[in-house]
Symmetry: C2
Subunit: 346 residues, 2 copies
């Protein structure tokens, strides 16, 4: 049994010192890190990219089935994903926590282990933050900073008619991971003697609990001199997110169901819940894959990357956003998103 240290025994400043004492700054741009009023960053003539996310216990995560280390890792990754989605490279993060008194120092150490693991993997420095008491629940606010060569960043609003729509990796897995964990939680709450049965579901559960940001896709663009015309990360589900690109680029689109990449593990999991794997890909969310458009002339360059699928193309705005099903029917794409599915799983 691990000894539990009350946070109040360290005090706010002692706690920050404890959690940040082993930081070694990795980026030359990290001029000054934790421990002052603010951090100082030198981007050496590059432009700064900044994004922020707020995660609230009971809304964005459930500590009953989310290990603290995974939660720390994911809190960082979801922000880095937004930086990559600008075609930029993340360099620093600041992390603020609201902590209720039910947490011990050891539990926060686990959370920070996850933060540091993500920092190491993505070569990012933790340079500041804030800790506060919360009356209820665990609150995480992460802001990520990145850098980009001027005019290399990619917006959502700059797709052109005829551009190909692409996604990295595969979609829908994280949502099925959530369904499994919610099911096991329900069973456990009804009968705590029953052990969780996640046999064979490690892929979908892993995609939910420990997502990765698509660093290697951005590196692939750089190496092969591919400049996407528009890009974003898939956090709310393919439907909702392609509609952002359509709306902001003032275009329509056609997606082909048969082209949407879904992993075998995801299909099997969807089968168990008797739901449509495509619906999970369209509305599940939390996949953190990249959704981007490219000029048709770049198509050849993409074919060597097995992690990229072309799933449709951009059209004139009058055609709206449509999906062609495997049965060759056309339906309008609507943004239902995660919350819709969550309320009506199946």
């Amino acid at each position: 049994m691990i000894e539990q240290t009350e946070i109040s025994s360290l005090g706010e400043f002692g706690l920050i010192e404890h959690l940040t004492q082993n930081i070694e700054l990795q980026n030359a741009s990290s001029v000054l890190g934790v421990g002052d009023d603010a951090a100082v960053i030198d981007h050496f003539g590059k432009q700064t990219v900044i994004t922020t996310d707020l995660l609230i216990e009971g809304v964005h995560f459930d500590l009953m089935y989310t290990p603290m280390k995974h939660l720390g890792y994911k809190s960082v990754v979801v922000n880095l994903s937004d930086i990559y989605a600008m075609n930029a490279t993340p360099t620093q993060i600041v992390v603020s926590l609201g902590i209720s008194n039910r947490f011990s120092v050891e539990v926060l150490d686990e959370f920070y282990e996850g933060i540091y693991a993500a920092c190491e993997k993505y070569n990012v420095d933790l340079v500041g933050g804030d800790t506060a008491a919360s009356q209820k629940g665990f609150i995480i606010s992460v802001t990520a900073i990145g850098e980009v060569t001027p005019d290399k960043f990619v917006k959502r609003s700059t797709a052109h008619q005829g551009d190909l729509i692409c996604v990295s990796g595969d979609l829908g897995a994280a949502y099925l991971g959530l369904l499994f964990l919610e099911r096991e939680k329900k069973i456990y709450l009804e009968n705590p003697a029953i052990q969780p049965d996640l046999e064979g579901e490690s892929y979908v559960v892993g995609r939910l609990l420990k997502p990765e940001a698509k660093k290697e896709i951005i590196e692939f663009f750089e190496t092969h001199q591919i400049m996407p015309t528009a890009m974003m990360d898939i956090s709310d589900g393919l439907s909702s997110d392609i509609l952002h690109i359509c709306k902001q680029s003032n275009l329509g689109c056609v997606l082909y169901e048969e082209k949407i990449p879904v992993a075998e593990e995801t299909k099997k999991a969807a089968f168990k819940f008797e739901i449509d794997p495509t619906a999970c890909a369209l509305s599940g969310g939390e996949d953190y894959e990249l959704l981007f458009t490219i000029q048709q002339t770049d198509y050849e360059k993409l074919t060597i990357n097995k992690d990229i699928s072309v799933i449709g193309y951009m059209t004139e705005p009058e055609k709206g956003a449509q999906i062609v099903t495997k049965g060759e029917n056309k339906y309008p794409i609507t943004a239902q998103g995660w919350n819709h599915l969550r309320k009506n799983p199946g």
Copy 2:
């Protein structure tokens, strides 16, 4: 009676659009603002300064006596204060909110009015953020970005023995503002028919509810080519904050009680509560004045600024941190801070 619009009627994206639709970016460095995965900032060769704060209802503010507009304004100002405390100029903010379902769109509009008022006053652009549901209470996370000419930023750790210790403005007022508001809240809760009596207390109440960041002090340094040797803002109280400079600069200090600036209004207010005004200055916190050290040779340059008081000097570390009272007694300075006072008001 103002019509109240449920937030759910707009949806998350509709809400963000509603709250940010009138933004006009003021800084040339704000290349891309709200509405994409991340914002893009060009600092044109300057270094980036970044700080973040998390404010939680019931811990950092009480909506019973805090108008939403003031809260929005203050949420920004407390972060800008940290940027100025680095001798830097704030340029952008990102704001994340956790909102419970008891808030209406109109209430959030008021909050954003305060945000925008602070942005306008300090010439800062709102370039991004996140909105999330909260299960309980209002949660505010603000991250501020600033810029500074390389090597012009001022840390806490670089004071030298013999340097003069200075503060801007006056101290202790915000804490007395809090005491008045807490007193009136208690009276109201016991008997809602009694109207709040804050007659004559507008100065101390104003210092709590609508603090300002000390932009003009940083401009004064620039104009008169004064480079503080160490600096921070006073958020936790003079005692706690001077101890940060002592610890991080590995020095001791001597403060003179009679030199600590306290406004007449603050003294009068302290008298009503039968507490020592100096104790409020030392441990009250939330003053957002600047605490800084300068070389003795810069003393003459300071004398023309009536808003700056010299209150002591830095000593060798062996002497510790001490205060000389008006009665010429010496006491060690201890960090009791706001929370201590709050628990034992008077």
